[in-house]
């Protein structure tokens, strides 16, 4: 824990008071707070080097392009990708899913082909597939989640077949903290089908070292803003041979090689997927966030998550009237969704806010699974590197007082 004692000092937002109380931020599952070095990196671009990338033959443009392209290299190292050409910048994980769903369907899928998701996926990993399923007459199947909020592997084995062409699952549940055994699942998928395997890294990548080569996956995507970086930037990593075959789904500047009045040819991977002026300032901010995490090391980041999670499990295990949705697996993320008998989740979160405690209330973009559990809404506490045991104690005390007030 020692490395993390003073970490809040790196994040200027923790100087704020909310309702005259110290801020207790437990909503990093929605977005993470930003360290000063990320803010400084973005300020530096606007203050000192700003110019559009890949275009100008002058110093500013060359400098900004260098900073921007360096982030691709950082991401390559961060994910242990084969090549930095495999790193595609997007606006975020949601745009990444929309790109993959459209591009993969167009290239590889035919009517009757099956897409396999799990019951616990984020809407961003459901809706783009529903949209292409309608367009290309595809079938979507959902792997069951068992009573431990874990993926039912028997159900996976039952549902996967040679008809399965895409398997897309979360690397870490934003509801229950579940960390599926990706290596095991990707092996099962490859043994039983020739499906492409996509990993939703939105919650996983901020907390765990991800080695795309070791996991045996074909694509992963994540957002910058959950990883201490800015909004408006995300990454899709894909195997180079696949990216070379896929067609772009957005056209415009920066993605072309030659343009004629009647046709155009595409720039090589990754640029063919990056139409228009990219969010280069945000990408550079993301690069600073990755530097910050790598400086701590992802190993220590995940150890911290495990420490917090165990502490939280201890103090949340037996609160009167509070039901906790959290996997019983040995390894899991520090994400706890909860509901209180007879009290609405928004009442709880409004009350917690009066104690300076920020948590998310609602369905957390996992509506079908809430429906399956028969719950309208939950409130969710998620921990990240700047949280400590004290934050969890403050949350628990505020929760007890809120329940008392709401009766």
């Amino acid at each position: 824990m020692s490395e993390f004692v003073d970490i809040k000092k790196d994040f200027p937002i923790f100087n704020r008071e909310i309702n005259s109380k110290k801020l207790t931020y437990l909503d990093s599952g929605a977005t993470a707070q930003k360290p000063q070095i990320v803010i400084d990196a973005m300020n530096n671009v606007y203050t000192n080097t700003n110019a559009n990338v890949h275009r100008g033959t002058y110093v500013l443009s060359a400098e900004t392009t260098q900073l921007y392209e360096d982030v691709r290299k950082k991401c390559k190292k961060f994910l242990n990708a084969y090549s930095s050409d495999e790193i595609i910048f997007t606006k975020g994980a949601t745009e990444g899913f929309n790109f993959l769903a459209n591009s993969i369907s167009k290239k590889y899928l035919k009517p009757g082909d099956e897409i396999l998701l799990t019951e616990i996926e984020h809407h961003a990993n459901i809706i783009p597939w529903q949209m292409v399923a309608k367009q290309y007459d595809l079938q979507i199947k959902y792997i069951k989640i068992d009573e431990n909020f874990s993926i039912d592997l028997d159900d996976l084995k039952e549902k996967i077949s040679t008809k399965t062409k895409v398997v897309s699952i979360t690397g870490e549940s934003n509801l229950s903290g579940l960390l599926p055994d990706i290596k095991l699942i990707s092996t099962l998928v490859k043994e039983n089908s020739d499906a492409l395997f996509i990993l939703d890294g939105a919650q996983l990548v901020p907390h765990r070292k991800v080695d795309v080569q070791a996991l045996g996956i074909d694509f992963i995507l994540f957002s910058g803003h959950k990883l201490l970086g800015p909004t408006g930037i995300g990454i899709v990593w894909g195997r180079l041979d696949l990216l070379n075959e896929l067609e772009p789904v957005s056209g415009g500047g920066d993605m072309i090689e030659e343009v004629y009045y009647d046709r155009a040819t595409w720039a090589p991977v990754p640029h063919k997927f990056e139409a228009g002026t990219p969010p280069y300032v945000e990408a550079i901010g993301l690069g600073a966030a990755i530097d910050y995490l790598e400086n701590i090391t992802m190993e220590k980041v995940s150890q911290h998550s495990d420490t917090l999670r165990k502490y939280a499990q201890g103090i949340f295990s037996d609160i009167d009237r509070v039901n906790v949705i959290h996997t019983n697996e040995e390894f899991a993320g520090c994400t706890f969704s909860m509901y209180v008998d007879q009290i609405h989740a928004t009442d709880i979160s409004l009350m917690l806010d009066t104690y300076g405690v920020a948590v998310r209330a609602g369905h957390h973009c996992v509506q079908p699974f809430h429906r399956k559990l028969g719950i309208d809404a939950t409130f969710r506490a998620t921990g990240y590197i700047y949280n400590d045991e004290n934050d969890l104690d403050v949350f628990k005390d505020a929760l007890l007082s809120s329940i008392e007030m709401l009766g």
Binding site: N19, H344, T346, L350, M351, D353, D376, M405, G407
Partner: protein, 138 residues
């Protein structure tokens, strides 16, 4: 009592509470006192859209005046809709339509009246005016 006057009275009342917690506590009390909403009308026809919780609002016309019944499955939202319903009840459709008072501005209720994208409170007010317009035409 005129709508403006009722708003000013509630504003004075809310200003007495020094912090958000006590303001919410007051709304919770208002919610707990509001018990006359007919169970069978808790349906989608009378639901206010855009609220994080379920909120219902129903108009009734009596002697050319409008009265609102309200309910919610969340207590703080119910307190808020109870207060809004009481402000616009016992008024003519005309007075409701012509009222230009900005409740969001007048009541310092922090996050529950913030101009968020899914602003339930904004939709509650819009619905009240829409009902008033319909009743005036009818």
């Amino acid at each position: 009592m005129a709508i403006d006057q009722k708003v000013q009275d509630y504003k004075k009342m809310l200003d007495l509470f020094p912090n958000a917690q006590e303001k919410y506590q007051y709304l919770i009390e208002q919610a707990k006192d509001n018990t006359n909403f007919p169970e069978e009308l808790r349906n989608d026809n009378f639901k206010v859209s855009g609220c994080q919780s379920q909120v219902w609002l129903i108009p009734e016309e009596k002697d050319e005046k409008v009265y609102f019944m309200s309910d919610s499955d969340a207590l703080i939202a119910k307190g808020l809709v109870t207060l809004i319903a009481s402000i616009y009840s016992d008024e003519t459709p005309e007075d409701i339509i012509n009222s230009e008072i900005d409740l969001m501005e007048e009541f310092e209720l922090g996050v529950i009246l913030s101009p968020a994208r899914r602003n339930g409170a904004f939709n509650m007010l819009k619905l009240i005016k829409d009902y008033a317009v319909k009743l005036k035409k009818a």
